[in-house]
């Protein structure tokens, strides 16, 4: 033996025992620790004069499952996995090799126990197992025969335990391997692959799974297994499908809508501009409408107004501009789009009123024609009164001449002249009415019309002792209206009111009150008198043509003309009257129905 081997022997004897990275302890038959190395002391702390169960497990007595005592008996070495407590009192997992020391006589005085701490390894292993089982997707491990080697808990919950089965048989109900099997691809090229698989669950239901196959290799070496991770996307796919259908449906609806639909996002960029909107705004098919173009089409103020409102802003009648700068009468509704109170943009709904306007015009025209027809029928009635007057005159003239009654002749002549005058007045009014004068809209101050009319009648009223007044309480904004037309309306009403006062029983002190005011976004004219009032029969016929109670003093066209003009302004005329008490006529002109003030070329084109 040379020196170095001697030295090695000494080192093994003196040093190795302590240097081994594994706890070594020697136990006698009474469970006393008789010897232990440094690694053991590092793990379990002080050991001298202590019992093994006390050191390993912090117990006061022998462990019920003591394996050492068995090895003392049978002399067989054992390996066991144990849980004990380390020197700091923490739970520790360790693998213990128990080796009996057998003497020549066969007796066993000691056991040598070698302990390896596996607490951390075990921890990691458990974590992995937990992850493997509880991760929210199905995981299986498949070998090159496509046999399922292992599956996690989640997979077992969905498919049952498939271990040992061929994956395509067990999951896909197939006899052959699936065409686009990602695991197969992974086995071929060693790379990760994804795919979509339709599978049958253990409850018999079909489901869509998104599958990803990963090679189960370490350090890129040859591998025999693939890990397949799959997620049930049935619900997602269904939602996606529903969303797609809803989206398509919405797109079709928007495109097919008769009304123009425009939507802008938070940055006011145009996102939707449907076919109807293109027609209304004269936008070519391939033209993309920009932000600034939209601002010139729909006024910027309106867009601002909508974005500051919580819900809708509606303009029943307004004008927008086409891309090439032409005015269009439309109904415009702006909706502030909010999702969970977050501003998403604005949607506009635009209804083209051109056709409606045309229809309205046609309706007015047909009403006018109907009125003309009625007029012709009524004409006979009007003419009858005139003929009566003429006949009377003729009779007086003839009989006066026969009787040489010069007074009667004179009277007859006067009657003839008077009635011929009435005929010309009648014909003039009749022509005005039947022609249907064109409405001339200009920005007017509503109360000015009433002022003018009252001034016109002031002298007249004073002469017959009627107090005629005009009041205008609140300031009224100017409005687009046919000044002359409205003047005619009020002239008729005030004239009627003065006549009603003259016909009344009161000898004097009658009143005519003219009032102009604005209420509920409508301009209102009231003409009230405390004159004779009307009885039932008269009230019923007030608005029919050629109805007059004034004998030859009226043509019966005044109120009818008034009604026509008011209707042309989109307004209404109503009347309350009580016999002997007085009458009140009320013209109401809602601002949103007033004629549009535009020098529209198209409008001119359509009017003869």
């Amino acid at each position: 033996m040379n020196i170095s081997s001697q030295q090695l022997d000494i080192w093994i004897k003196d040093q190795l025992f302590n240097a081994i990275p594994m706890g070594i302890a020697v136990i006698d038959k009474d469970y006393n620790l008789v010897m232990a190395n440094g690694s053991f002391e590092k793990m379990f702390g002080a050991w001298k004069n202590r019992k093994c169960y006390s050191v390993y497990k912090s117990r006061d007595s022998v462990c019920p499952t003591c394996k050492g005592s068995i090895s003392f008996e049978d002399g067989v070495p054992r390996v066991s996995q144990e849980v004990g407590f380390n020197k700091n009192g923490r739970m520790t997992r360790y693998i213990k090799h128990t080796i009996p020391v057998i003497q020549e006589d066969g007796s066993i005085p000691f056991l040598v126990e070698m302990t390896t701490d596996i607490t951390e390894i075990e921890q990691v292993r458990r974590e992995h197992q937990l992850l493997f089982d509880q991760v929210p997707c199905s995981i299986s491990i498949i070998d090159r025969d496509m046999r399922i080697v292992k599956c996690n808990k989640r997979m077992q919950e969905i498919f049952g335990n498939l271990e040992g089965q061929l994956c395509y048989e067990a999951m896909n109900d197939r006899r052959d391997i699936c065409v686009a099997c990602p695991a197969k691809k992974t086995f071929e090229d060693g790379k990760m692959h994804s795919g979509h698989s339709i599978v049958t669950k253990k409850d018999g239901k079909t489901a869509h799974f998104l599958v990803r196959a990963v090679p189960l290799s370490f350090d890129g070496e040859y591998f025999d297994q693939v890990m397949e991770m799959s997620v049930d996307v049935t619900q997602t796919l269904k939602l996606e499908q529903e969303l797609k259908i809803a989206h398509t449906f919405m797109e079709i609806m928007i495109d097919a809508s008769m009304d123009g639909i425009i939507a802008v996002d938070q940055g006011r960029n145009v996102r939707i501009f449907n076919k109807a909107a293109r027609t209304i705004f004269n936008v070519p098919e391939n033209h993309r409408v920009t932000k600034s173009e939209l601002n010139s089409m729909i006024s910027e103020e309106f867009i601002e107004q909508v974005s500051s409102e919580m819900t809708h802003v509606s303009l029943p009648e307004t004008t927008v501009q086409t891309l090439d700068g032409k005015p269009r009468p439309v109904r415009l509704i702006g909706t502030n789009l909010r999702v969970d109170n977050n501003y998403m943009g604005i949607a506009f709904s635009i209804q083209d009123l051109r056709e409606l306007k045309q229809l309205e015009k046609e309706k007015l025209e047909s009403e006018r024609l109907a009125a003309v027809g009625q007029t012709v029928a009524g004409l006979a009635h009007g003419v009858k009164n005139l003929i009566s007057g003429l006949e009377g005159g003729m009779y007086m003239l003839n009989s006066g001449m026969n009787k040489s009654n010069i007074e009667r002749v004179q009277e007859g002549m006067e009657m003839l002249v008077r009635n011929i005058g009435r005929i010309s007045l009648f014909v003039k009014e009749f022509l005005t009415f039947s022609k249907g004068r064109k409405i001339r809209v200009k920005k007017s101050q509503p109360e000015m019309v009433a002022d003018d009319v009252v001034e016109l009648y002031a002298e007249n009223a004073k002469r017959v002792d009627i107090e005629l007044t005009h009041t205008c309480d609140n300031a009224i904004a100017s409005a687009p209206m046919d000044y002359e037309g409205m003047h005619e309306c009020l002239t008729n009403l005030v004239g009627n009111a003065i006549d009603a006062c003259r016909f009344s029983d009161k000898s004097s002190g009658c009143h005519v009150w003219v009032r102009t005011f604005e209420k509920d976004k409508a301009i209102v004219y009231e003409v009230e008198d405390d004159g004779c009032g009307m009885d039932y029969e008269v009230k019923k016929k007030v608005f029919t043509n050629f109805f007059t109670t004034k004998g030859l003093g009226g043509t019966g066209l005044g109120l009818l003309t008034t009604q026509k003009i008011v209707q042309e302004h989109g307004g209404t005329i109503t009347m309350e009257s009580e016999e002997g008490k007085g009458t009140i006529f009320r013209i109401s002109l809602p601002r949103n129905r007033l004629p549009i003030l535009i020098e529209d070329n198209e409008q001119d084109d359509n009017t003869p």
Partner: protein, 132 residues
């Protein structure tokens, strides 16, 4: 003694015309232009027949007719209603019946459409008065 007739029409020309014509045919006639003097005139004249226009300002002939028929003294006085309206325009027995709104009131004895034909009017007056 000549029969007395009261003409009620707001139109003076018609009144003048009818008064003159009726006088020429031997009737004693008087006219009223307004509804205020209608009852006093009837009271003072005590007419055998009344010619009554329907459409008049302030008060219609229908309303005057009702007053007359409800009066204690004059319900039996014959009335000819006169109007510029034609049959299509409610000037018919049915139309007047509707306007009256009262089934207990008898219809007037005559209906006369304007323009007035004097011979026709005289015929109507004579027929009505001879029946009585």
């Amino acid at each position: 003694m000549s029969k007395k007739i009261v003409i009620i029409d707001d139109e003076p020309d018609i009144c003048t015309y009818l008064t003159a014509a009726l006088e020429d045919y031997g009737f004693n006639s008087q006219s009223v232009h307004d509804h205020q003097s209608f009852m006093p005139t009837i009271e003072s004249v005590q007419p055998d027949l009344i010619i009554l226009d329907i459409m008049m300002p302030g008060r219609s002939g229908i309303s005057m007719y009702k007053e007359l028929k409800n009066h204690k003294t004059y319900p039996s006085v014959a009335v000819i209603m006169m109007s510029g309206m034609s049959a299509e325009n409610e000037f018919s027995p049915e139309g007047v019946r509707n306007l009256l709104h009262d089934a207990s009131i008898p219809l007037p004895e005559g209906f006369l459409e304007k323009p007035i034909q004097i011979p026709e009017l005289i015929q109507m007056i004579n027929d009505i008065l001879s029946k009585e």
